[in-house]
C-alpha cells in the first residue's frame, strides 16, 4: 500500500482551497444511510412520509452529512489529522437522486496549548445550491 497524504500544519496557508469532493446519492445510498446509522426515522426511507412532512423526497440524515463533511476535510489533510470540532447547519435537505459536492477553504491556522489547529469552512451543495454550511477544526502534525 502506498503511503497516504500527510498535511503538516507548518505547510498550511490561510485561504488555501481544498480539492472538491463529489458523491452521487442514488436511492440505494439513502437506504444504506438508514441501515449504516441505525436511523429508521421515516423521512429517511419512506417517500410518502417525507413529502407529508415537507421535504420532496427521502433525504440523508445528520450522520451521513457529517461523514461527508469529515471526508472533505481529511481527504485534503490525510489520515493523520484528528477532527477536534465540527459545526454544521442543515439549511435544506439532500435528497435521493441528488449529487453532493463538497468544497472547503482554510480560514484560520493557529495553536492552542500543544495543539496545532486549522479551521476549514466547508460547503456542501447540490444542483440547487449550498444545502449545508459547516466549519471543521482539524489538529495536524508538525514537521
Amino acid at each position: 500500500m502506498t503511503e497516504p497524504t500527510r498535511k503538516f500544519w507548518d505547510d498550511v496557508t490561510e485561504g488555501e482551497a481544498l480539492p472538491q469532493v463529489r458523491m452521487q446519492v442514488p436511492y440505494a445510498k439513502v437506504i444504506l444511510n438508514a441501515a449504516a446509522t441505525n436511523d429508521y426515522f421515516p423521512g429517511h426511507h419512506d417517500p410518502e412520509y417525507a413529502r407529508a412532512q415537507g421535504p420532496r423526497n427521502i433525504y440523508l440524515n445528520t450522520m451521513a452529512i457529517e461523514g461527508f463533511i469529515d471526508r472533505v476535510a481529511t481527504n485534503w489533510a490525510g489520515p493523520h489529522a484528528f477532527l477536534r470540532k465540527r459545526q454544521m447547519q442543515m439549511r435544506a435537505s439532500i435528497y435521493a437522486e441528488d449529487t453532493m459536492c463538497g468544497d472547503g477553504v482554510v480560514r484560520r491556522r493557529y495553536q492552542e496549548g500543544a495543539r496545532n489547529l486549522v479551521d476549514i469552512e466547508i460547503k456542501i451543495a447540490t444542483d440547487e445550491g449550498v444545502r449545508v454550511p459547516a466549519m471543521v477544526t482539524l489538529e495536524l502534525p508538525r514537521r
Binding site: P42, Q53, M63, T74, L83
Partner: protein, 177 residues
C-alpha cells in the same frame, strides 16, 4: 396530560408551557446498544465513500492511533435504539423526542460536536443529554413549531469523555396539518 404516540416513532405531545418545564432537565444515561465494530465502520465508510486508512488499514491505524478507530460521524449511531428488542420498549435516548409539544414531526437542523478522543473496536459508548432551550413558536418554510436545543455528553466504557454535542432540531406541524 401528555400522551405518547408510538407510530411511526415515539413522540410525546403537550403544550409549549408543558415543554418549558423540562428546560434544564437531563435525560436518562443510556449505554449504547451497539459496541464499536469494524463491520459497522466499514458499512458507514461505504455510505460516505471514505477511504481513510484509519478506518480500513489495520497496520496504518495501529501505527497512527493504536488500532482501527471509528469515524467521528458514527458517534450518534452507536446510541440509536433497536427497532425491536425482546425485553425493552422502543425508545431513544434523545431527550428532545420526550418533550411534550404539539408538533407531530421533526427534522434535525444543526449540530456542533467537539471530540476529545477516538473510539476503538470493542468500545461501548454511554450518552446522556440535557434540554437546554426551547424557542418560542416559529413559522418556517416547513411548518409551525419550536426549535429544541440539547447538549449530549458521550463517554466510553472507562468513563473517559469522547465528545460533547449540541444539537438543534425543529419539532413542528406542517401548514396543511
Amino acid at each position: 396530560m401528555a400522551n405518547v404516540a408510538q407510530a411511526p416513532f415515539p413522540l410525546t405531545f403537550g403544550t409549549y408551557q408543558d415543554a418549558l418545564k423540562l428546560v434544564g432537565q437531563a435525560g436518562q444515561k443510556t449505554v449504547a446498544e451497539f459496541s464499536v465494530t469494524h463491520e459497522a465502520i466499514k458499512v458507514y465508510c461505504a455510505l460516505v465513500e471514505d477511504p481513510n486508512p484509519s478506518y480500513w488499514d489495520e497496520d496504518f491505524a495501529r501505527r497512527q492511533w493504536g488500532g482501527i478507530v471509528a469515524p467521528p460521524g458514527l458517534l450518534l449511531s452507536w446510541c440509536m435504539a433497536l427497532e425491536w428488542h425482546p425485553h425493552k420498549p422502543r425508545s431513544h435516548y434523545i431527550m428532545a423526542l420526550r418533550v411534550p409539544l404539539p408538533g407531530d414531526t421533526l427534522i434535525n437542523v444543526a449540530t456542533s460536536t467537539e471530540f476529545d478522543r477516538h473510539l476503538y473496536l470493542g468500545d461501548r459508548v454511554s450518552v446522556q443529554d440535557r434540554l437546554v432551550q426551547i424557542s418560542e413558536e416559529k413559522d418556517t418554510r416547513l411548518g409551525i413549531g419550536h426549535f429544541l436545543t440539547t447538549e449530549a455528553e458521550f463517554v466510553n466504557q472507562n468513563g473517559q469523555r469522547v465528545a460533547v454535542q449540541t444539537n438543534q432540531l425543529f419539532r413542528y406541524r406542517t401548514h396543511e396539518a
